[in-house]
């Protein structure tokens, strides 16, 4: 792996004035996101927190263009992603969805998938990239030949993290990575995530309603409620001294885990 390069101060991801509306059951336009702007820098973890239904998941799905916004734009290294080939974009902006999906086959097959999609040579179980990725994700090499679907939920969650970062993408998006995990397993994932972010200099954007996770690993924090950003800033600061009434209320009564 390359040595740490000097910090580029320009944010890697800039979200500018994003709006998203979608017709609801009555055919009326429901506002999912409204004038959302923030940026995420490499080597930092940005946590988007808020109650469920607040638009968090809808928001990160826009960053690798699983969906497109109805207003505003998203820049990647200064380039509007609307003009990029979605395939090439997604090969730079990896994403781990909420429910970890393991493809049929072994863990190794699952780790090889992204390279198969890129028609690149697939790494073997002994290759350094597989070993290093396993280590980062807190998985052991003896799991490689196991049927991926027989792994525990926590292992599957870390396996999908490993699978997403095996190609060293500059940006990583995660949707509720710990929602299905108990506390020790969630902590393992959080530690893995922190290592990956630091060592691979990734910009990590993480959606969660788990304040404990956000407080533990996030550098920056964004509080999203009813489609709007109510609070944003360095995680330690906003958690210690929230400014908005909405975020204070959320901190006082965080939602139970789904």
């Amino acid at each position: 792996m390359a040595e740490k390069t000097s910090h580029d101060d320009r944010p890697t991801v800039q979200v500018e004035g994003i709006g998203l509306t979608r017709p609801d059951r009555q055919g009326l336009e429901a506002v999912i996101l409204d004038k959302v702007s923030f940026s995420a820098a490499k080597g930092r973890i940005t946590a988007i927190v808020g109650p469920s239904g607040g638009g968090k998941s809808s928001l990160i799905r826009l960053i690798n263009r699983l969906d497109d916004p109805t207003a505003g734009r998203i820049l990647l290294d200064g380039v509007d992603i609307a003009g990029l080939d979605p395939l090439l974009l997604r090969r730079k902006v990896a994403m781990v969805l909420q429910r970890p999906f393991m493809f049929p086959g072994t863990l190794l097959h699952n780790l090889q998938r992204p390279l198969v999609y890129r028609k690149e040579p697939v790494p073997t179980a002994e290759s350094p990239v597989v070993r290093r990725t396993l280590e980062l994700a807190r998985l052991t090499p003896d799991l490689l030949e196991r049927d991926a679907r027989s792994l525990s939920v926590g292992q599957q969650q870390r396996a999908s993290l490993a699978r997403a970062v095996i190609t060293s993408p500059p940006i990583l998006l995660l949707d509720e990575p710990t929602s299905a995990l108990d506390r020790p397993t969630g902590d393992q994932l959080a530690a893995a995530l922190q290592d990956i972010c630091r060592q691979q200099e990734m910009a990590v954007i993480l959606v969660t309603h788990d304040l404990r996770l956000a407080g533990r690993i996030a550098d920056d924090l964004i509080y999203l409620e009813a489609g709007r950003i109510r609070e944003a800033g360095p995680a330690a600061e906003v958690l210690a001294e929230p400014a908005s009434a909405e975020f204070k209320r959320f901190l006082a009564e965080p939602e139970e885990k789904e």
Binding site: N64, R65, L66, D67, D68, P86, L87, R90, R91, A94, M95, V96, L97, R99, F101, F103, R113, P114, V116, Y117, R118, S160, R163, A164, T167
Partner: protein, 264 residues
């Protein structure tokens, strides 16, 4: 060769055959199985439709211009397209265009190859051969393509997590739906493959039976049957393939996003 020729069925023979239908109706009436009216209606429809087709074919077989023959084939394809469309529970976006073009190219291409090159009578568009052959290829291909379309719809609906996971890992839409396509193609082929595997042991195919009954030497009838099964399999495979290759794209936006369920 001993050729006993055709046993012509007289009207009296037909009436006797109809006694079997009456028997079926009587059985269900006496046992209160409640199917008598259905049987009667189905039998009546069959008679009327077949008589109509018999006279229609009589007229059609006298057609000698290729353009007219071609338009008959298009009408046949149109009817089967309509049947397939009305039977599908959920239709993929752009169903008729996808299905119609696959049928025309798949069945048309295979029928032309078969009639012009394999059988090689002249003129190749002789309706007496072309129309029944096209009908057979069309019927099977339509069934196969419908199964493929239905299965693709179900597979993509069930595999949303899998497909989006693949997209997130840098897959093209084609790579992301690979498993769905494989299952849909297999669903299309299974009836034809089963028929081929059972042929001659479990069942004697209708056309071969008909040929033998009307006096053709069994070995000749068998050769025909083999050739036709090849054409039918080819038609089913090509049509289902074309349908799937066009069809999966309908589930994605131009930006390679899996369409939301409510918009597809």
């Amino acid at each position: 060769m001993d050729n006993r020729g055709l046993v012509n069925l007289e009207l009296s023979n037909l009436l006797l055959a109809f006694a079997l239908i009456l028997l079926a109706m009587a059985l269900s009436r006496f046992q209160r199985l409640g199917q008598a009216r259905k049987i009667g209606w189905a039998a009546t429809r069959m008679v009327v439709q077949l008589l109509a087709v018999g006279y229609l074919l009589h007229v059609v077989f006298s057609v000698k211009t290729p353009l007219l023959v071609a338009s008959i084939l298009v009408v046949m394809a149109g009817f089967s397209l309509q049947v397939a469309g009305s039977q599908a529970k959920r239709r993929m976006p752009g169903f008729y265009r996808v299905m119609g073009s696959s049928i025309l190219a798949g069945c048309g291409g295979v029928t032309f190859f078969f009639c012009a090159l394999v059988v090689g009578y002249s003129p190749w568009y002789e309706p007496r051969y072309l129309i029944p052959l096209f009908g057979m290829i069309l019927g099977n291909s339509m069934q196969g393509a419908s199964l493929a379309a239905e299965r693709l719809e179900a597979e993509i609906g069930e595999r949303r997590d899998e497909i989006e996971t693949a997209l997130c890992l840098g897959a093209t839409p084609r790579q992301a739906v690979e498993a769905a396509l494989r299952n849909a193609f297999s669903a299309a082929l299974i009836p034809t493959l089963n028929t081929m595997a059972a042929m001659g042991i479990v069942s004697l195919p209708g056309m071969m039976t008909g040929q033998i009954l009307s006096g053709t030497e069994p070995v000749v009838a068998v050769r025909y049957q083999i050739a036709i099964m090849c054409a039918v399999s080819g038609g089913v495979a090509v049509t289902a393939f074309l349908l799937l290759m066009q069809g999966y794209r309908r589930y994605f936006t131009p930006a390679q996003q899996l369409r939301r369920w409510d918009e597809s």
